[in-house]
């Protein structure tokens, strides 16, 4: 057994300190060590985007990062979006636009969109589709996800 290393970082505002194997993936750490199972695993080779979380505000593939690499960082996962029972406006938009079916890819889309909409509060359809092109969905055909983003952008502008 290899030596464990000590890591410490914030997830959704909560500070964690744990000892992990160096090779433990961040996706597995979040899901199985912290029981934050909202981040999903679809491919473990960085293509599908289901595992997308925010690391210091940037969208990253948690399946391609070791938990150890997140030491000292501030992470946000899908569990950090809603405020108690109140959904984030983007989550509301997804519901209203029927932008999810099985919901497995959805957390990854949401986390990809948060920084995108911050940089592009007024995207057109082509820009939206481009921003979404790194996340795979097998259920929706993307059409209602695009609608959800348009609606979410409106809601987020207040």
């Amino acid at each position: 057994m290899t030596d464990l290393i000590s890591i410490s970082f914030k997830v959704n505002g909560v500070q964690y300190k744990k000892d992990v194997e160096p090779r433990m993936l961040l996706s597995d750490f979040l899901r199985h060590e912290l029981d934050l199972t909202g981040t999903h695993v679809g491919c473990e080779h960085g293509v599908c985007g289901s595992c997308t979380i925010l690391m210091d505000g940037e969208a990253v593939r948690s399946c391609l990062i070791f938990a150890a690499q997140a030491d000292g960082c501030e992470l946000t996962t899908v569990e950090g979006l809603a405020q108690g029972d109140k959904l984030h406006p983007l989550q509301e938009a997804f519901r209203e636009a029927h932008g999810l079916q099985c919901g497995y890819c959805t957390p990854g889309f949401l986390m990809t969109l948060i920084p995108f909409l911050k940089e592009n509060p007024n995207p057109n359809e082509a820009e939206i589709r481009d921003a979404l092109s790194g996340n795979l969905c097998r259920c929706t055909g993307y059409q209602n996800i695009v609608k959800a983003v348009e609606l979410g952008a409106k809601k987020m502008k207040g």
């Binding site: 996962t77 209203e96 099985c102 919901g103 497995y104 939206i128 097998r138 929706t140 993307y142 059409q143």
Partner: protein
């Protein structure tokens, strides 16, 4: 009774949980002392196993156990035949099902040979490399025609050949019909393999509680009840001792209804052996080998047409790639055979297929389940016939549609539900007209000419299909009103994103006057409901939905009867709305459903003979045959003549699934189906080498369509009710996926001015370039 919820675009009950990452998927199950499994899988497509040495794996720290077939004793039995062959005259079927763990011989890359149980998934996967399997490689069977040659290597030595099945179905007399034809089109078609690639891979958690003598299995299955029955039988337990839970599933699409997968048989057994809960989660690469595929068929087909384009007859002989085993019977090729007839009058039909064993992963239904192939053949033949006869391609279809007054229409051949293929209702011409209008069919030739003058190659495709849906055997539902006024609806099917938690609630909401949001639907848990089949073949809304409807109606009668007694008013004077029963015109004379439920389960005063306590009812719906949905897809695309890349400018679907429970959910199903159809037609392809090795088992090289590849889809609805169920609904789950291959072929030929003739799916820029060079 007016409906308030049925037919409306009600937002989904399940969304808040899914959106906040709080929905339970199988890999989210964390149990104390849980161990993890990984499977040692064959690296050869065809080989004898001389020996398996697990000693090094057992030495590795953190490995708890390693099991092979030899360890399983009497428990080791071939997995069950899921669907027996239909009662077709002279049918030949060689039943060969997959094994829990391979003993003597592997027949495809990825077949499970041993299972490692360890403290973590990481250690279990490390230990895979420790297991030494001594293989004796055998020659590989890949090509369907070569597989049937007398000197072909045999997958099953006891069979004299690699024939899995042989079936002939016919009606009328094609040979004679052909002699009267003005035109006979004869072609050979290829339709290659693909995978469903749901975003969630398969997974199982098995927990044996030896004190309670209870086995609980969380499984990414679309059919928990048959899994429960199969496991109970195998483990020698009573049904009530086995609970199978299919929680939220990240997509199903068919391969998750295949059962019993080897892993489903091994995990519960292993959990008992090591006396700890055990979890197995498939990874994506494993999914390409271990989860079933669909599609590969080669067809030698001909159509005989009269001078006005009317179909005189069709003859189709095809080979179907079964993969290494055939546990799902003949569902896929029978669907191809039957769905080829489409929405058309085909007076003479000869269809013959041979299902062939090959050294590849098994083939079981995936969204469309073989219908794609039949539609591809018929639509292509009609396109080519139309060209030869100088008839417009939309017109030739219209001329051959079964007229609306010829229903029910019996095609006289046997369908996948073992009944004669009978279309219950249909009205095909209006959908075609609507699709033509929506795509701009009449103005397109001028648009195409203008574009060509600018060097742009636009093409239009328009194709038509039917989809057999809503087959039996049956489903059931139980509706219960709680003393707090909340309602529960429980059914045995599973849910993989198609919105059952909302659509089933909508059905019941109208019956009992309760808001959809106050109805909690339970699916996929065998502890809650004991009888049923599962979610597959576009049957959930029709079969489970109608069971919900019937149970809702029964509860409604109970409500009215009891409320009539309590409020001392005749039932005809009562109305149910907003969770309470009120006497019409007397707003103070009312009782809430919750209070009424309390009254229906009294502490004193016995339940009268022949009655049941509570406001609850269970009902079943078992249709004698399926109901036939239909539709038309149309598309305008542009092909870049240099790169052969394709851009879809416009995509239209006009479909008819009878009455829609929730149009928002229906449209979502069509969008998703089209996206998978586009992937199937132009992006997704499995590349095998001659040794049976899959060369592109990852998303880097197996291309799923992204948001830049799936266009905006315009949807039109037609509504031809089904006479076979009280709600008039038909299924729609597979509609989007079925005709897309045929649509691409037609549109691309049109764009390239018929410089290529397209007889295969999938296409790709590479392939189009090759075809252009060749032709």
């Amino acid at each position: 009774m007016t409906t308030q919820f049925f037919g409306e675009r009600i937002l989904r009950n399940e969304d808040p949980q899914l959106l906040t990452g709080n929905a339970l998927f199988v890999d989210d199950v964390h149990l104390p002392n849980m161990a993890h499994a990984a499977f040692v899988r064959s690296v050869y497509a065809h080989a004898k196993i001389k020996s398996i040495d697990v000693s090094a794996a057992l030495q590795r720290e953190g490995v708890i156990a390693v099991f092979t077939a030899a360890d399983m004793g009497d428990y080791w039995q071939p997995c069950p035949l899921v669907v027996p062959p239909p009662p077709i005259k002279d049918l030949k079927f060689n039943e060969r099902t997959q094994l829990p763990l391979v003993k003597d011989k592997v027949r495809h890359v990825g077949e499970a040979i041993a299972v490692i149980i360890a403290e973590s998934r990481y250690i279990a996967e490390d230990a895979i490399a420790d297991v030494y399997v001594d293989y004796e490689p055998l020659p590989v069977v890949m090509d369907l025609e070569k597989a049937l040659k007398p000197d072909a290597p045999l997958l099953f030595e006891e069979l004299k050949d690699n024939v899995a099945a042989h079936v002939i179905q016919q009606k009328g007399d094609y040979a004679t019909a052909k002699t009267k034809a003005a035109v006979v089109v004869k072609k050979k078609f290829f339709y290659d393999r693909g995978v469903a690639a749901a975003m969630e891979n398969r997974g199982i958690v098995a927990q044996w509680d030896r004190r309670a003598q209870q086995m609980t299995v969380w499984d990414t299955t679309q059919a928990p009840i048959p899994i429960r029955n199969g496991l109970a039988a195998r483990l020698g337990l009573s049904a009530h001792q086995v609970r199978v839970v299919a929680p939220y599933l990240g997509g199903g699409f068919g391969p998750k209804v295949m059962m019993l997968y080897p892993e489903e048989v091994v995990l519960p057994w292993a959990a008992i052996k090591v006396n700890r809960p055990v979890k197995w989660i498939e990874d994506r690469q494993e999914n390409f080998f271990a989860t079933s595929h669909e599609r590969f068929q080669t067809h030698t087909s001909e159509i005989a047409l009269a001078s006005d384009g009317k179909i005189l007859g069709v003859r189709d002989v095809f080979l179907h790639d079964s993969g290494a085993y055939d546990p799902y019977g003949l569902t896929v090729p029978i669907n191809s055979q039957c769905t080829l007839l489409g929405p058309y009058l085909v007076p003479n039909y000869y269809s013959e297929f041979t299902a062939v064993f090959t050294n590849r992963t098994i083939v079981t239904p995936y969204r469309g389940a073989g219908r794609q192939h039949g539609v591809f053949v018929m639509e292509r033949l009609l396109d080519m016939g139309a060209r030869e006869l100088g008839i417009d391609r939309a017109e030739i279809r219209k001329r051959n549609f079964i007229p609306p007054d010829q229903f029910p229409h019996n095609h006289e051949i046997i369908y996948q539900d073992f009944a004669p293929l009978t279309y219950d209702s249909g009205n095909y011409a209006p959908a075609l007209e609507k699709a033509k209008k929506m795509i701009g069919y009449d103005s397109f030739p001028a648009e195409q000419k203008r574009a060509r003058a600018e060097g742009k190659h636009l093409g239009l495709g328009i194709v038509s299909y039917v989809e057999g849906t809503g087959i039996g055997p049956y489903e059931g539902a139980r509706v219960t009103i709680g003393t707090n006024g909340k309602v529960s609806v429980v059914t045995g099917v599973g849910t993989q994103g198609q919105g059952h938690f909302t659509s089933f609630a909508q059905i019941v909401a109208d019956q009992i006057g309760v808001d959809v949001r106050d109805i909690s639907v339970v699916t996929g848990d065998t502890a809650e409901f004991h009888w049923g089949a599962g979610t597959f073949a576009s049957r959930g809304a029709v079969v489970a939905g109608n069971a919900c409807y019937a149970a809702g109606q029964m509860v409604r009668s109970k409500i009215l009867k009891l409320a009539g007694e309590v409020l001392e008013a005749p039932e005809s004077d009562l109305e149910i709305a907003d969770g309470k029963v009120t006497v019409k015109g007397q707003p103070d004379s009312s009782i809430t459903l919750g209070d009424l439920a309390g009254r229906a389960n009294p502490m004193r005063g016995a339940v009268k003979p022949g009655t049941k306590p509570g406001l609850e009812a269970t009902a079943y719906f078992g249709p004698s045959s399926g109901t036939t949905a239909s539709g038309v897809h149309a598309m305008i695309l542009e092909v870049d003549p240099e790169t052969m890349l394709v851009k879809i400018n416009k995509y239209v679907v006009v479909h008819d699934c009878g009455k829609m429970i929730n149009p928002m959910i229906v449209e979502g199903q069509v969008h998703g189906g089209v996206a998978q159809g586009i992937g199937n037609a132009f992006y997704e392809q499995l590349f095998y080498d001659d040794n049976g090795q899959l060369l592109n088992a990852s998303f880097m090289d197996y291309l799923l369509p992204t948001a830049n590849d799936v266009p905006h889809i315009d949807i039109g609805h037609e509504e031809t009710l089904s006479p076979l169920n009280p709600m008039g609904v038909k299924g729609v789950g597979e509609a989007g996926a079925i005709p897309v291959g045929a649509l691409f072929a037609q549109a691309i030929e049109d764009a390239l001015e018929h410089k290529v003739e397209i007889l295969e799916i999938p296409l790709s820029p590479n392939r189009l370039f090759e075809l252009m060079e060749k032709q």
